[in-house]
Symmetry: C2
């Protein structure tokens, strides 16, 4: 029932009485094949149940039709959703997507470029967290590469991101329009800030200043762990310590979810006492109580543009690093409603 050995191109060729190359041409839809020949070969293919061996093809062509998407952690909903979108978009372009978790560590991020993808992938899209693009470029092999996320210190590589500063400013402005005066920021790293956090904090500050509010470092709440529990613990501790806020911009939705819990458990009502804005607009933020207003990056556009750039590089484009900005939105829901 299970064939001992896979059917090979040569088997089909022999069976159909033609050359191997002709079978190859038929299988790959090469145009200059006569209809009669095409039919004959297709019959043989069907009869023997032939399926091309991707390894052999890949070795011969030097292409694998696979791309890699590397990001910190699949368990963070944003990345899971991003991966989903990337998989769709790259499938639509005829590429399979290999998903790779870096753990958000320097080693993990370097490893992606240095070791892992060697020769099994045609290109890599990397969303770094610990390292910046400029640091990572040194480790780059000859595989085409596109960075996700806006590195403030632009590198020579292609890069796609939303405008974090503008988005954060916009989110703060939304809170200001709700009459909030003591607007905090939750969720950046306790250690050195990732560049994403840095940018969002920049925008947060800009938003405050634009509204004539004073930037107050005591309203910044870092978290030790990048998940919801870490955010809950951090904000909880700060609140218990006397922190007073009436608005909160979160670095990401996980922080917002943790914030919700920290606030509600302490009897603070959202949005009446504290209005909360998350970031990424992951699907679950529509189902919390209250649902969470969140900054929504255009992930489809993000994926499309990133793959555009990457495929151009794969096709041999040699050009300086290009930096593309894609759109975003503030998705208004219950945690920070319309004024």
């Amino acid at each position: 029932m299970i064939p001992v050995k896979r059917v090979t191109l040569q088997d089909v060729a022999t069976h159909a009485g033609v050359s191997m190359k002709t079978v190859s041409n038929v299988v790959r839809d090469y145009p200059h094949v006569s209809p009669a020949m095409r039919e004959r070969v297709q019959a043989a293919v069907a009869e023997l149940g032939y399926r091309p061996n991707l390894r052999g093809r890949s070795l011969a062509t030097g292409r694998s039709n696979m791309l890699a998407l590397a990001f910190p952690d699949l368990r963070r909903p944003y990345f899971a959703e991003l991966a989903h979108v990337f998989a769709r978009v790259s499938a639509a372009r005829g590429y399979r997507l290999l998903l790779e978790e870096t753990g958000g560590t320097p080693d993990g991020e370097r490893a992606v470029l240095r070791d892992r993808e060697a020769g099994i992938v045609d290109g890599v899209v990397l969303h770094p967290q610990a390292l910046r693009a400029t640091d990572l470029e040194a480790y780059r092999e000859d595989t085409p590469l596109v960075f996700l996320g806006e590195d403030p210190q632009p590198s020579g590589a292609d890069q796609v991101a939303i405008d974090n500063v503008a988005a954060a400013e916009q989110a703060v402005t939304h809170l200001v329009r709700l009459g909030r005066r003591r607007i905090g920021f939750l969720g950046h790293e306790t250690g050195p800030w990732s560049f994403t956090s840095t940018l969002r904090l920049d925008g947060y500050r800009a938003g405050l200043e634009r509204a004539g509010h004073r930037f107050d470092e005591s309203l910044l709440v870092a978290r030790a762990e990048g998940d919801a529990l870490g955010a809950e613990a951090a904000l909880g501790a700060a609140l218990d310590d006397g922190l007073e806020i009436d608005g909160l911009l979160c670095r990401d939705d996980l922080a917002a979810i943790g914030a919700l819990r920290a606030l509600l458990v302490r009897g603070l009502h959202v949005p009446c006492d504290v209005a909360v804005v998350g970031w990424d607009a992951t699907v679950l933020t529509a189902s919390t109580v209250p649902s969470i207003t969140s900054v929504a990056p255009d992930t489809v556009e993000l994926a499309s543009r990133a793959l555009d750039l990457l495929l151009e590089r794969i096709d041999g484009l040699d050009a300086p690093g290009r930096h593309v900005t894609v759109g975003h939105d503030v998705l208004v829901r219950e945690s920070a409603p319309e004024p």
Copy 2:
């Protein structure tokens, strides 16, 4: 700066003045190589920056050291977390993991077995949703395969799952011990039930009967969409329609999250008015308000056992299908606390 052409094994061999095979032996840690030779070759490798080309190796050995994990949808937190665990566990065994979404559709599930993995992966772990293992076996190629999820109609293939019936029964028992009498079930499919739903409903029913409660079909709430919003809509409609419950077992955590919102929005308190139990114990259920009591499958064990079985098949084991059950737990939190 970027080498025009990758360094090949032959380049290293020439550079070190040895044969290609010797370099290969060094690179792959073949034992019978003299220390001096090993050192010389390693120096050449380092000097030229050689990295083995996985495509070539894969063609020569017939192995790719990659496995595929296929499941319905990455956006569902359970699968994202499962994928994360599988990736770790398989990395620990020296395999990379290719993640594949089937969309939960018959075509998607068939495609995984039939087209997609042809020759690029050494084995496949498939978590079906639309089709049962027995249906899928027909499409199986010669790639080793392990099913995830307990198909009530055991197939000839290997299978790993938790005991869904026992777990559901246990969850219901927990609700009963909280004094709940009208315990509903939320989240199975509106169309034909998946076998997972079927089993969990079986256990739900068994739990009720064991407690001497009557099984009442009007307490079953199906959802059209397999996400939280779908569950919220379904339960909301049922409640508005007069459904009265004081306990609720959900097919998965997304259903529980949707349920929370449907209940709270209608002024019902969880757990006082309605106690809720979710399923999968995804991390986010610790951060909702209230946090969600949930059935926790032992995913690490699930992944380990599945890979054990798969690797044995890859090593050529020829045996009838084996069916492994891994452990689970009811993780008690606020939505259905200890009595």
